[in-house]
């Protein structure tokens, strides 16, 4: 019997989600880092070309005849045109007085020291500009004077480059994420693979296979497997113990009872006083009842045990039933009861032969036991490929008004059983065997109305 496990979450899904989550986080970090990096690099390279331009203008400044002269080199501005199609502004000033260039170019906030260019981002003519200002000290008429050169450029081209680089960074991030996701799926699958294969290996085992799990497993699964092995071990011990107990009990109960019954019968022959003989007869009846009941109890225990781990073999139901009929014929003869065996078809099935035998024997036993003498019992076996069926019809008067379903409950007996030794376990055993094989037990009144018809029905495979 398999009980559904109580499922809460999935290791694979959790692992996958965690891996995907960290991949997404790493991809985002990668994107932001690369973006920041390219932004810095782009700005640095823009700054350096602005500074190169400012430097070349600075180099063209000279003092001629007591005048500061600026000879703007062509390359100073054309080099900026090579980088991007951006607007270019510049200013050369001396001590706050503009010598040439765009006089309304905003002055930076930072103070400029000689040899240390200042880079600023400012607004000019409605556009954002990047401006470098560098300073140099010249000697004019023997007195030092500070010359400041500013070169500025709008940032449209810079923005276009950044947009392109951001796109590349985005593709990089997405690519990284996709690759990580593929790896995450692969690693999640491979991490749970040992678990899966262990589960398959255990569930593939035959019902009697109680060997410990010996396949190599990852170290994380070692505690689980060793617990499982301990459990299997305990189960094996416990099963062995019950089997031993059943065998022991059968031996311990049946043998003394047989001895007591023999002694009671011998005594019955010797005793002549009518009231003593009556007591002894009662005793023998009670012993018979106990013997049968203990036999059926043991049968029932055996059936319960065997159905828990059903061992299936191929069975010819007709052959099995015929054997039983032959074995019980002497008992039937004692009461002058005729056993009629009939077989149609090939009633093959797979199941536990001992259990099936037990079930059929219990029904046949009942039929013989409850029939009055000189009656007929019909045993019919049939099979059609899909089902194998055995039905036993008697002339024992039927079960009367008792609920036919209740008859198969433990210790419930029919209305016509007064005076007959019985435990009420026979039909219970038969029904449990039928159900363990996926079959059914049906109890009907026979066609002639003279008795009952009990049918065991099994699926062929």
């Amino acid at each position: 019997m398999t009980r559904r496990a109580h499922v809460s979450g999935s290791i694979r899904r959790r692992l996958l989600l965690q891996l995907l989550g960290s991949a997404a986080l790493l991809a985002a970090i990668l994107f932001v880092t690369v973006l920041g990096f390219v932004r810095d690099v782009a700005e640095e390279s823009h700054d350096s070309i602005l500074f190169a331009s400012a430097t070349s203008i600075m180099d063209s400044i000279a003092v001629n005849a007591g005048e500061v002269s600026v000879d703007l080199p062509y390359a100073a501005l054309s080099m900026l045109g090579n980088v991007s199609d951006d607007r270019v502004f510049y200013r050369v000033s001396r001590a706050g007085e503009v010598l040439t260039g765009y006089s309304d170019l905003p002055a930076g906030e930072a103070t400029v020291r000689a040899g240390q260019p200042v880079f600023e981002t400012l607004d000019y003519k409605g556009e954002t500009i990047r401006m470098v200002t560098s300073s140099r000290r010249l000697s004019l008429n023997g007195a030092p004077t500070d010359i400041e050169v500013s070169v500025a450029q709008t940032q449209n081209g810079q923005a276009a480059i950044l947009a392109r680089l951001s796109r590349s960074a985005l593709y990089l991030g997405i690519g990284f994420f996709v690759l990580s996701s593929a790896l995450a799926i692969w690693s999640a699958q491979s991490s749970v693979r040992p678990l899966k294969s262990l589960a398959q290996a255990v569930s593939r085992r035959g019902p009697k296979d109680l060997r410990p799990v010996s396949r190599p497993v990852p170290s994380e699964m070692a505690p689980l497997v060793s617990s499982l092995n301990t459990f299997i071990d305990r189960l094996g011990v416990s099963l062995t113990r019950s089997e031993d107990f059943i065998a022991e009990a059968a031996h311990r109960v049946r043998t003394p009872l047989a001895t007591v019954r023999t002694q009671a019968e011998i005594t019955l022959r010797r005793v002549e006083k009518e009231e003593n003989r009556g007591s002894l007869r009662e005793m023998i009846r009670a012993i018979d009842e106990t013997s049968r009941a203990s036999g059926q109890l043991l049968d029932h225990a055996m059936v319960s045990f065997r159905t828990d781990s059903l061992e299936r073999v191929d069975i010819d139901l007709a052959e099995l039933a015929r054997e039983l009929v032959e074995r019980l014929r002497p008992v039937a003869d004692l009461k002058d009861i005729d056993l009629h065996f009939a077989n149609s078809g090939t009633p093959r099935m797979s199941g536990d032969a001992i259990l099936i035998q037990n079930a059929v024997r219990n029904i046949l036993d009942n039929a013989i036991k409850y029939s009055p003498p000189e009656r007929q019992v019909h045993i019919r076996v049939s099979g059609d490929g899909a089902q194998a069926r055995v039905s036993i019809e008697d002339e024992a008067g039927g079960f009367g008004t008792t609920d036919t379903h209740a008859l198969t409950e433990r210790f419930v007996r029919g209305e016509n059983t007064q005076g007959v030794v019985g435990s009420g376990l026979g039909l219970t055993i038969a029904r449990e065997v039928a159900e363990a094989h996926g079959g059914t037990l049906t109890i009907e009144t026979s066609k002639s109305g003279a008795g009952a018809c009990v049918t065991l029905c099994f699926p062929s495979h």
Binding site: D71, N82, D85, L99, T100, G101
Partner: protein, 343 residues
Amino acid sequence: MRNPLLSLALIASLWGVSASAFEIEDRQWVGPENARALTVISTTDFDILAPLMESFLRNRPGVAVDYVVASSSELMKAIADEGQTFDVALSSAMDLQTKLANDGFTRPHQSSATALIPGWGEWRNHVFAFSQEPASMVVSATALTEAEMPRTRQALITLLREQPDRFRGRIGTYDVSLSGLGYLFATQDARTSETYWRLMELMGGLDLQLYCCSGAMIEQVADGEIFVAYNVLGSYARARADLADRIVVIDPEDYTHLMMRSAILLNDAAQPELAEAFVDHLITAAWSNPPAPEYPFRHPLGAPGPSESARRPIQLGPGLLVYQDREKRKRFLGEWVSALRQE
């Protein structure tokens, strides 16, 4: 047309100093009267662009073009200093167009037409080139023999040195202080080779005649008044079929600068959509292959080639701003004047 002979004294007057309103050389109205007018300020002679304007107006009833011709420096003055409103400015002075775009007087434009222009033919979607024309020498076909034709600057220098008396007062070039295009050609020459200064010194000693415009120089050469005109717009000279037998147009073989005529869309345009359509029309005429039949300039326009090639297209870009720097311009004009004054 202004007087072609200008005294050297005028050289000292710098661009932008004059406070008077800008000077209009010509004003033409194309299209029906009382129509919606697109105002164009241009350095290009009306006759040259008239066919393109007519094809522009063909499918636009109720639209006219108010076409104002001014020199490139007057154009700059009108827009930058006087705040005159025009829809479109067409100019051959690439440096001034670039400066107007850089200093925020223009607005960007992008269309299927502008997509035709390669990267070197436009600047930041603000300046759109629509022609490429050489700075040529125009030589009198009657005064000089075939063997004397100067194919390079060096050949011209040799010719002038050998026969100074023959050429005294018979050579001309742009007055760079007045003509924006002349200034552009002169600065690019000076940037390219020292030969330019030697040539200027030599010409200065031979009573160099100074002109405002290419047209005047071409006519003077054709009339035999002067024998050699230096740095003339070759496209104008070649366009004068009526003078073809009297002038020879030479693109110097040492190097020939190629100027790109360009269009800019001005801020505060009264007819912004019309202005864009007109610029697109010019661009499509120029850059389509083949060009529009009424396109008046040489085709195709060539990319800046390898430096060993004689053809040197002047590149659009912030480098052009350098010679527009106040100090740089003052210094250049000072050197130019002193070169011409030298004996």
